[in-house]
Amino acid sequence: MIQFRKSDIVVDGVRVQVLEAGPRSGGGKPLVYFHGAGAMRGFDELLPLAEQHRLIVPIHPGFGGSDDDLTINSVLDYVVHYASLFDQLELAEPVDLVGHSLGGWIASLFAVFHGHRVRRLVLACPAGLRVPEHPSTDLFMVPPETLPSYLVEAPAMLAKLSSGEVTVEMRIARYREMTSLARVIWERSYEPKLSRWLKRIAVPTLILWGEQDRVIPVQQARQWADRLASEAQITTFDGVGHLVFIETQGAAKRVESFLNGGG
């Protein structure tokens, strides 16, 4: 059973945690995963991707086991952070980049500004696009007790997410992550210029979406695909909500086949 190794690195003066896992034989091409706006649950659902790849999950400043960076107050600041982090991890060759939700927004901007560092791009229900006819839910407005029902679709998964005691420490950790999220997206949960900028993305791109996503509607998938310079593939999953990698193993499998050059 593959497991993550945790290590701390200092990027531009801020300590961040990096999870890594890879094939037992060593090696594997790097696959970097930008997570969404919650890093407390861990990312074990991604471990199948580590069977063939050197899987790298850096935790954003202000989330999970990383320190706060109070100089970050825009998604672009995260892009700058990740350019430095890539340098520090000596990721000189283009990498496969996967981003989920907020991480998809960061990944798309990273590909806009640092396209030469990305081999293939996967955007899983990415945030950041303004689609007036299918608007995203403003997560800040969702009461904490009903949040799980927005995140996942399958009843069994919902029961799992909603179970267990909510301790003071958990509430504080969640408040801290929501604070970090608010610093970058409270004013608006989209980047008005993103649709203009996306045409800079020319690398092969896969778009994944849960068909029952209540946070960012699946109808936005086509809008993303239409704006990229490259031909994008779209794969959607029936019976799946916003936490697409947690809800179906099919998501990681689809990523694997796409990165291997499969259609």
């Binding site: 800040f140 009461p143 003071v168 604070t179 608010a182």
Partner: protein, 388 residues
């Protein structure tokens, strides 16, 4: 010299809209359907409330205080400057206190202009307090709670530069850039009207007020916690070379005066309970948007169980808030005790509370002015004299 020798009475009004929407555990804020507002009722309330404050001026209160909240039945004052303008035209003596517009909800130069107008119009009667705004304001204004404290500091720096440095000047900040910072008019009082910072006890706000030499006032937090904040404020101010006097700290109270204690309780108790149970009540999510509280402050609140909402009882309320219902004698004695306890000579009194009808507010404002204030000023209370 005792703080009682220089007592000043600040008559404050929240101007609530008392026809609350029932069955709302999350309170009367943010997402309260505004279709419940009746403009004719609102018109009458503005008349009554402004009359009550104007009466305060005639009866010799040192100051009239108004403040600001948004999208809530708690307050009919989404712009306290407008009420202040109306009060200036109808009053002669009392200071007019805007306690106040959260500076982050507007452009800082614009607030500098508006407050300067009020100070000049009133011939130098203005005092200003600057709150961060409740958490609820951030849901109904396009403003980020997670960066609000940084924006607040910069906004205050802009306002102070606008008021104290000969204009035009230039400003290059994180949040604002001014090519010509050049407000006109400038305040009547020099260098500027008295400034307070309003807080809820968050340590860095107390520190900020003390470092800058601003006054400090705390709203609706338990008395013991307030007293600790005041100590912290005085110590920090001293370290920064300021010597805060008893006028630098404002305390607040809810008194009701009547012929007997029983009558005071009968006439006022339910209105005060109404205020705490209906108007002040909010939900955890609404009053604590992300980033509004520093994480260590949230930890203290969670550990103290502040967020466990329960029905507010009279006993619980009076043990943590300065509330006194009684005869002039009883009220005067209690207020003297509170001022000495906090070493404050300025006391904000809320004499209209909750859904109190106009006649009771007029009675309370009149009796407090005619029977309580003279007792405190001239120390007519035999018990107080004996205590000297």
């Amino acid at each position: 010299m005792s703080v009682l020798d220089r007592l000043q009475f600040y008559l404050m009004h929240f101007m609530p809209y008392p026809d609350v929407v029932p069955d709302r555990p999350q309170g009367q804020w943010v997402d309260i359907p505004n279709t419940h507002f009746d403009p004719e009722k609102g018109h009458q309330l503005y008349k009554n409330y402004i009359d009550e404050l104007v009466l305060g001026d005639a009866l010799g209160y040192d100051a009239l205080v108004v403040n600001e909240h948004h999208s809530t039945f708690y307050s009919l004052m989404p712009s306290c400057s407008i009420i202040a303008g109306a009060l200036i035209a109808r009053t002669r003596q009392a200071k007019i206190c805007v306690f106040g517009t959260p500076i982050t909800l507007t452009y800082p130069h614009r607030l500098a202009e508006e407050y300067a107008m009020l100070d000049v119009m009133s011939g130098g009667r203005l005092e200003c307090a600057f709150p961060l705004g409740t958490g609820m304001e951030y849901w109904v204004n396009p403003l980020n709670p997670a960066t609000a404290r940084e924006r607040f500091r910069e906004s205050m720096d802009v306002l102070m530069q606008a008021w104290t440095q000969p204009g035009p000047t230039r400003w290059d900040g994180e949040f604002y850039h001014y090519k010509y910072l050049n407000p006109f008019p400038l305040p009547y009082q020099k260098p500027h009207p008295k400034i307070y910072i309003v807080g809820s006890g968050t340590e860095d706000t107390v520190q900020y007020a003390a470092e800058k030499g601003f006054g400090y006032s705390q709203v609706f937090t338990p008395i013991a916690a307030q007293l600790r904040s005041f100590e912290n404020y005085r110590a920090t101010a001293a370290r920064h070379g300021h010597t805060p006097d008893s006028e630098s700290i404002i305390i607040s109270a809810i008194p009701y005066v009547a012929e007997s204690e029983a009558k005071a309780i009968e006439e006022a108790r339910d209105h005060i309970l109404f205020y705490f149970r209906n108007l002040l009540r909010t939900g955890d999510q609404m009053n604590t948007p992300p980033g509004y509280l520093p994480v260590d402050r949230l930890r203290k609140r969670l550990e103290a169980g502040v967020f466990q909402s329960s029905e507010i009882t009279w006993e619980a309320l009076t043990s943590v808030y300065r509330t006194v219902l009684g005869t002039p004698e009883q009220v005067a004695e209690r207020i003297a005790f509170w001022c000495e306890q906090a070493q404050s000579s300025k006391i904000v009194v809320h004499l209209h509370t909750g859904d109190m009808p106009h006649w009771k507010a007029v009675k309370n404002i009149t009796l407090f002015a005619e029977e309580v204030i003279p007792r405190l000023r001239r120390k007519l209370s035999p018990k107080l004299k004996a205590a000297e």
